[in-house]
């Protein structure tokens, strides 16, 4: 800008000076010509008057000293006299413009310049009363030399002017541009800059827009933060890919779920971090515009991987992937399936024998004396079935998680003795002694459920005992916690099964389940009741030595 201002100024000055020069030159030239012609005219008049007065001497004096050439031409163009040249040798002058003009109008002028000598000859012709024509002529320098001389003076002046103008225009442009430069450099504190009036609205506009931009940026940042916060705290993994499968963005959860290398980051191809073929296939399909998902196992986790195409005006712009961890759901589902299979099996076994015996009786194949035995067996099996169904009902109640009834104070020793009493007969049948002992301690809870817990533990202790073994129910305190301990001298549980005994329908020795009785749900019920009372279970067991299970209340 500064350069343009300088150039414009200089050109302007040079142009103005040149125009002025030419205009004045033209004017001077004009004036000069007029002046010379006027001189010639005056001279001719004077000569004519002098000649008319008959004063030949003074006329020839005039001719001699004036330095002006005088020619007398006859009306037909023949030269009668010339003051400088031999008039006899001169050609006919009738075709000269000034002569023609004078013959017509009484007087005529002409200027003829000669380029070779650089001078012009000025002519003035005057028609005399006798028809002759008096012509005066003067050789005068052309105007160009004067002009050239003027230029010699003018060029330095012009140069000086240009320099002056340059300095001035520099100062001016600096004055114009400087505030703009300062403004551009310090857009933040616009108020501190001194501006000239014309710039103020401009600055105001900038300030307004700046405020707008800042506001927009702030809201974008907030929006971004919000999205970042949401994706970061999601339990699902999210990955955005562009159409070349380069990662545009992903959250931490995706990194941890897919076991990606934390080092490979944004902008890199997903292939550098994930090489699971199923996932890559899903992404490829999505890149071709097909929604799809895969379920897969990755590092012990069950994952659901959704890949969705992202289209922008019908062009595939990328892929949006969602990763869900469904391990828990999958495990629950598996447990449920197993449970259903187990329940059906356990229900079917007694029913098969019941139906078999009943069929024998129905068809009359059973002899009269056997019927009683069969009926006994049917009774046994149906009570087993009933027991099983009762247990399942209890379990599903406990699954609901709400122990029915208000919590009450329970005297544990009393409860233990109660259980021992009701199991006395069963213990005698198995040749096992059962005893309850310990301190008088109370806890708050559901009496029916607590009874169920102790009863189940004691029953198991008797069931898996040896002949002449003992079962001991002990109530006590340990580290400020109340506990119920049920210890037996039975067959014990092998170490590898100890953490599985609380599973539904789990039995250490599957082949003996029928002989020992029980539903396989007892300990599972115990676990649920303990859980409902926020109690923890500890199991210590040694094969052949016995098992002790401790319920610790908080």
């Amino acid at each position: 800008m500064k350069r343009r201002i300088n150039i414009t100024f200089c050109l302007g000055v040079i142009g103005a000076m040149l125009i002025a020069l030419f205009v004045t030159a033209a004017a001077f030239n004009n004036l000069f010509q007029k002046h010379v012609l006027n001189d010639l005219k005056n001279y001719a008049q004077k000569l004519k008057e002098t000649a008319l007065e008959g004063n030949v001497d003074s006329a020839s004096e005039l001719i001699l000293f004036s330095g002006i050439r005088v020619t007398l031409i006859a009306g037909d163009g023949k030269v009668l006299f010339d003051s400088e040249t031999d008039y006899l040798e001169m050609e006919n002058h009738s075709d000269r413009p000034e002569i023609i003009e004078a013959a017509l109008k009484g007087s005529g002028t002409d200027i003829r310049s000669s380029a070779t000598i650089g001078k012009s000859t000025y002519y003035y012709a005057l028609r005399l009363s006798n028809g002759n024509i008096l012509r005066t002529a003067k050789l005068a320098s052309n105007f160009e030399p004067f002009f050239r001389q003027a230029v010699y003076i003018l060029v330095p002046v012009m140069l000086a002017l240009v320099i002056l103008i340059l300095i001035l225009s520099n100062l001016l442009s600096k004055k114009i541009i400087r505030p703009i430069e300062v403004l551009a450099g310090n857009l933040e504190d616009i108020n501190q800059i001194r501006l000239y009036d014309e710039l103020v609205p401009f600055a105001r506009k900038i300030k307004e827009q700046q405020a707008d931009i800042q506001q927009n940026m702030e809201s974008i940042r907030r929006e971004n933060n919000k999205i970042h916060l949401i994706t970061r705290n999601m339990s699902e993994g999210i990955i955005f890919l562009d159409s070349q499968s380069n990662i545009l963005s992903m959250n931490e959860r995706a990194v941890s779920l897919l076991g990606m290398d934390g080092k490979t980051g944004l902008g890199e191809n997903i292939l550098n971090s994930i090489r699971n073929n199923e996932i890559l296939m899903a992404i490829e399909k999505a890149a071709q515009g097909e929604h799809n998902y895969v379920e897969l196992e990755l590092e012990g986790r069950q994952l659901q991987f959704f890949a969705n195409p992202v289209t922008d005006e019908d062009v595939n712009a990328g892929v949006l992937c969602l990763v869900l961890d469904i391990t828990e759901k999958y495990n629950r589902e598996k447990l449920r399936r197993e449970f259903t299979a187990n329940v059906s099996h356990e229900l079917k076994t007694p029913l098969t024998s019941i139906s078999g015996y009943a069929e024998l009786i129905e068809s009359g194949m059973a002899r009269d004396e056997d019927i009683k035995g069969f009926a006994g067996k049917i009774h046994n099996e149906s009570s087993r079935l009933l027991e099983l169904i009762n247990d399942i009902i209890k379990l599903s109640e406990l699954d609901e998680g709400v122990p029915s009834g208000e919590p009450e104070e329970i005297n544990l020793l009393e409860l233990a003795r109660d259980c021992a009493r009701s199991l006395e007969k069963y213990a005698q049948d198995k040749r096992v002694t059962i005893q309850a002992e310990g301190e008088e301690l109370t806890i708050s809870g559901n009496r029916r459920m607590m009874h169920e817990l102790v009863y189940n533990l004691a029953e198991n202790a008797i069931r898996y005992n040896k002949k002449d073994g003992t079962v001991r129910i002990k109530i006590g305190r340990e580290n400020g916690k109340t506990f119920i301990l049920v210890a037996d001298t039975g067959i014990g549980i092998p170490a590898e099964y100890q953490n599985r005994i609380f599973e539904r329908f789990f039995r250490v020795d599957k082949s003996r389940s029928k002989a020992t009785g029980g539903t396989g749900l007892g300990l599972s019920i115990v676990k649920h009741i303990a859980g409902a009372h926020k109690a923890t279970l500890e199991c210590k067991s040694e094969v052949g030595q016995g098992t002790s299970i401790k319920v610790l209340f908080p």
Partner: protein
């Protein structure tokens, strides 16, 4: 500025990784089919081999096109020639995964055999080798590539163990000798896969440093 050549090299790199993921998948599924005696899965692996073959042809075409059209030199040339060699090894691994699956479908009668011998362990070791050799390629990790080459000894030793076990088995129970022979084949295939993984690792080293380690 990225020119077309760089883009093509990038595509080659990505396709090679994709092929790596294909063979990883094939060998994992073949091993899974072997251990769980899943004939459907075994059949799937045999069919899957076609995809590996297709991928090999595709990458081969890409490599030749690059060589002809771009006339690469130095590092680029190394990368392309290493890729050409690597896909051959990868394709062989795919074939052997299919071969294992074929044996799985015949072996069904003797499921208890598998638990007795060290083949699952061998399979685990080879899968690790294949995975790490491709990891080494992806990350251009020289250390990891050397690790893979060293690890081949573990697989070789396991092969000897398996062979001894199978000889013992034939000696004690002649009826199972046919199955034992099949098992030996499976073990050999795993041993070969280990060798191919070693080759891949060597080509990775070549493409990075330009040195052949053999």
């Amino acid at each position: 500025m990225r020119n077309r050549f760089d883009e093509q090299l990038e595509t080659l790199n990505n396709e090679l990784i994709k092929m790596g993921s294909l063979i990883e998948y094939a060998i994992e599924k073949a091993t899974d089919a072997f251990i769980t005696q899943n004939n459907d899965e075994a059949e799937m692996v045999i069919r899957f081999d076609k995809e590996v073959d297709d991928k090999e042809k595709q990458i081969e075409g890409l490599c030749l096109k690059l060589l002809l059209q771009q006339q690469p030199v130095a590092r680029d040339l190394r990368q392309i020639s290493a890729a050409l060699k690597m896909i051959t090894d990868m394709e062989r691994i795919g074939d052997q995964a299919a071969d294992i699956s074929e044996i799985v479908m015949m072996l069904g009668r003797y499921p208890e055999l598998k638990e007795m011998i060290h083949i699952p362990k061998m399979a685990e070791a080879t899968i690790k080798m294949v995975k790490e050799s491709i990891d080494a390629y992806v990350k251009k990790d020289l250390g990891l590539a050397k690790q893979v080459i060293d690890y081949d000894d573990v697989v070789d030793d396991l092969f000897v163990v398996v062979k001894d076990e199978l000889i013992e088995l034939i000696r004690s129970n002649v009826k199972q000798s046919e199955a034992a022979a099949d098992m030996l084949m499976v073990a050999k295939y795993y041993e070969r896969i280990g060798d191919h993984a070693t080759n891949i690792a060597e080509w990775v080293i070549f493409s990075i440093t330009g040195e052949k380690t053999i």
